[in-house]
């Protein structure tokens, strides 16, 4: 029995070392398409690498945007600048409340926003958040804040990516990485925003399931974010950026989720309020630049109207 236990532990130790070596070789050599459970990608379509580097330097913003691609493609800091509001966008691809919580814990203290606009897309409350977590792991310098959330996923993809990320950090690859500002039709705009040149609506080829059951852990993360904001005396507004009416209506719990969000304070659902036509979207859920202009102008007006933003608390300049 003793021999068996000794051999077993020796094999486990050998296997762990071998696993890490295989993973590093695999992650370095295998084409991205075939890296099934190891999704390490610096940069990526959401410009998370550049955004996080900028977030490290940004301080004392008036408005901080949080949320998914609806946030970083839907809230243009340049439009808020017209109203003399300094804004920063901390959105990331498919960001669910769990990842928002990680970013809030890591950046709120540094960025010190006066007001937070939290884009809440109820569909993402049914998502496990793994893809977004991988995006953050791949692009954050020191993802220590991520470990508790990452370990709790019990997901091989997350664990493998964490191991590979440790290797990338060890060899200092992230320090030398430079993400281009332009990728295809997309351009990174200072302030965390991604502007697109796409201006024609193209529906997605595959039907998506918008009605995954809402996950308790996402609701808990959402409520923890609200508590954190309240604790820090940071005012906030919950916003649902517009999506195409087809996409909006495909989700069956709009009423229920609207009611839920309203319980936490000011909440605006712009799919309901604006009902924008498909021509203002380039896909099923992202606005063209023209669409962003319309939506952001409406949002700013609404924020002023409700006195969520006012001269006194934001020290606004002449343009208001």
């Amino acid at each position: 029995m003793v021999r068996f236990v000794k051999q077993l532990f020796a094999f486990l130790a050998f296997s762990i070392v071998a696993y890490v070596i295989f993973l590093i070789v695999w992650g370095t050599c295998a084409p991205t398409t075939f890296r099934k459970n190891m999704n390490f990608k610096m940069g990526g379509p959401g410009y998370m690498f550049t955004r996080l580097r900028e977030a490290d330097t940004v301080r004392n913003v008036d408005i901080l945007f949080l949320g998914s691609s609806h946030a970083y493609r839907g809230y243009d800091p340049r439009i808020f600048q017209r109203y003399s509001l300094k804004a920063f966008n901390l959105g990331s691809s498919a960001q669910t409340p769990i990842e928002t919580k990680i970013l809030v814990d890591s950046y709120l203290e540094k960025i010190k926003p006066k007001h937070v606009v939290f884009d809440v897309y109820p569909v993402l409350f049914g998502n496990d958040g793994v893809e977004s977590l991988l995006d953050i792991i791949s692009n954050m310098d020191d993802p220590r804040e991520i470990y508790p959330a990452a370990l709790s996923t019990k997901n091989a993809k997350v664990y493998n990516t964490l191991i590979f990320n440790a290797f990338v950090n060890l060899i200092g690859k992230k320090k030398h990485f430079k993400e281009p500002n332009e990728k295809g039709d997309d351009t990174y705009v200072n302030g965390g925003y991604v502007a697109t040149k796409k201006n024609k609506y193209k529906p997605e080829a595959l039907e998506r399931n918008y009605n995954q059951p809402t996950l308790t852990k996402q609701l808990e993360a959402f409520e923890a974010i609200i508590s954190e904001l309240k604790k820090r005396n940071i005012t906030y507004t919950l916003v649902q950026a517009p999506v195409t009416q087809k996409t909006y209506l495909a989700f069956r719990k709009n009423e229920e989720m609207d009611k839920y969000f309203s319980e936490f304070g000011k909440y605006y659902n712009y799919s309901e309020k604006l009902k924008l036509g498909d021509s203002l979207f380039f896909d099923d859920s992202h606005l063209t630049q023209n669409g962003v202009e319309i939506f952001n102008e409406e949002l700013v007006k609404q924020l002023f109207k409700d006195q969520v933003i006012s001269k006194s608390n934001f020290n606004l300049l002449s343009k208001e």
Partner: protein, 485 residues
């Protein structure tokens, strides 16, 4: 609790440690521990069905004793019929009630009549087909005076509900397993490492090969009307490997787990895709079920005695019942019937026992003739699996008619760019089949393949299997196909 779950990864070592710390105590303590662990394992699915399992166990234990102690033939028959009747009654109720009710309603509807029937919301208790067959074989063997019944309730319960085989077999026989339950098991280092090796190979088959094949097989079968013929062939091939690696992977884990506790279970798969004819395939596929049907249905029906017609009739009955055992759907019945059709020529020409040894025994490569035979048998099997996987018989025929079209000669990866990732699955299948081929003379492919190599090489290979599981597994747990049967 699934074998490929984190829960099982905690459950197994805990039971293992307690079990072997009891080895110097009474044998009964080890058996009680395994019985409790088995009931806990089963209860993790649905504790309510523990009562059904316990009742079924009690029924066969009691009727076994009654049959044995009755000298009167009529009484013996009464107890046998009672046991078999109740067992099949439960199986029929839980597994087939809705099927028969729906089929009857459809039939009546054909004649313009309306037959409303109460469709019950019946949950299929996991493993009912397996533990019912365990118990029935015990009662049959006592009735046929092959064995004496045990008077130890714990031993008998453990024989029926031993957790490695409880939910998907192998379907054990009392003659094989019960003596092992009654005998003292000793800690054997080589047996244990062999068990771990087989578990690892089973996990690889299930989590790397089967689950990845399933991803694409599901997409293609679920949208079969929108794909080209070559893609449909690809889908059928993916399912062919999925079902084999899923079920044989499960069996490997079950056998390996049992070996960790000192038990040897029946070998359930003997490299069936290397068969040279269908008869050989069925001697190598789900062996414990095939032999169960042979012993308790085919032979009582007369077997091969009584002329060619009777033999063909009996064979057809076996395959139809076997198909129906797999599930309450006409697709399984047609699958069984198709296999019966395949096997009839070998019965007529008396070639059904031609290939008893494994192909190319002692040789590295098969002969051209063997290769041709193997390819033909494999193709026929793939064709039959289409019925097994399809939602309905109509769906299966549509799938088949989709295959036999001009688009058979198109490249499935060009017409479906989303399948480009499935090349990875094919890339995994190639080394897998090579390892299976090289290890085909063993009980499982890697049983002895690497034993003569230096330890670092051997461990590096096992670590590569662990790595493959970590990197290629599906990130959501997937149940084994045969749990539903």
């Amino acid at each position: 609790m699934l074998f490929n779950s984190l829960n099982f990864a905690f459950f197994l070592p805990i039971v293992f440690i307690f079990y072997w710390t009891l080895q110097n105590k009474k044998l009964a303590y080890q058996n009680i521990l395994l019985l409790l662990a088995s009931y806990y394992f089963y209860g993790c699915w649905d504790w309510r069905f523990l009562f059904l399992l316990a009742f079924s166990t009690f029924l066969d234990f009691y009727t076994g004793l009654k049959i044995y102690h009755s000298s009167d033939k009529a009484k013996r028959k009464f107890w046998l019929i009672l046991s078999v009747g109740i067992n099949l009654g439960f199986l029929g109720l839980f597994k087939y009630y809705n099927f028969f009710a729906d089929s009857f309603a459809s039939l009546v509807h054909q004649f313009g009549l309306n037959a409303d029937h109460p469709t019950l919301r019946i949950i299929l208790p996991v493993g009912i087909s397996f533990y019912t067959f365990h118990g029935m074989s015990y009662v049959f063997d006592i009735y046929n005076r092959k064995i004496k019944p045990t008077t130890n309730w714990v031993d008998y319960s453990l024989f029926v509900s031993f957790f490695p085989l409880l939910v998907a077999g192998p379907i054990e026989r009392a003659t094989h397993l019960l003596p092992q339950v009654e005998q003292k098991r000793t800690f054997d280092y080589s047996k244990l490492t062999d068990g771990l090796r087989q578990i690892l190979w089973g996990l690889f088959k299930k989590m790397v090969i089967a689950d990845n094949c399933a991803e694409y097989a599901d997409i293609i079968f679920n949208n079969s009307d929108s794909y080209s013929a070559s893609t449909l062939v690809l889908g059928a091939l993916f399912f062919t490997f999925q079902i084999y690696c899923d079920f044989s992977g499960y069996s490997d884990i079950a056998l390996g787990t049992a070996r960790l506790f000192g038990f040897e279970l029946l070998q359930n798969f003997k490299f069936p895709y290397f068969s040279r004819d269908i008869a050989e395939f069925w001697r190598r596929w789900h062996v414990s079920l095939s032999s169960w049907f042979k012993d308790y249905l085919y032979i009582p029906l007369g077997g091969s005695k009584g002329g060619l017609f009777k033999q063909i009739r009996n064979t057809c009955i076996i395959f139809l019942v076997s198909g129906f055992w797999h599930g309450a759907n006409w697709t399984f019945v047609v699958w069984g019937f198709l296999n019966a059709i395949y096997i009839i020529p070998s019965i007529v020409f008396r070639t059904n026992r031609q290939h008893l040894e494994i192909i190319a025994q002692g040789r590295l490569f098969p002969s051209i003739k063997e290769l041709a035979q193997m390819t033909l048998t494999f193709s026929l099997t793939v064709l039959a699996w289409i019925f097994f996987r399809a939602e309905t018989v109509g769906h299966a025929f549509d799938y088949l008619s989709g295959i036999f079209s001009m688009s058979l000669f198109t490249n499935p990866f060009i017409s479906n760019p989303e399948f480009i990732r499935s090349i990875l699955v094919i890339a995994l299948l190639i080394p897998f089949m090579i390892i299976e081929w090289l290890g085909r003379e063993n009980k499982y492919a890697i049983e002895t393949s690497f034993l003569n190599m230096p330890r670092p090489v051997r461990w590096a290979f096992y670590s590569l299997l662990v790595f493959s599981i970590g990197v290629f597994m599906q990130t959501k747990e997937s149940a084994f196909i045969y749990f539903q049967f």
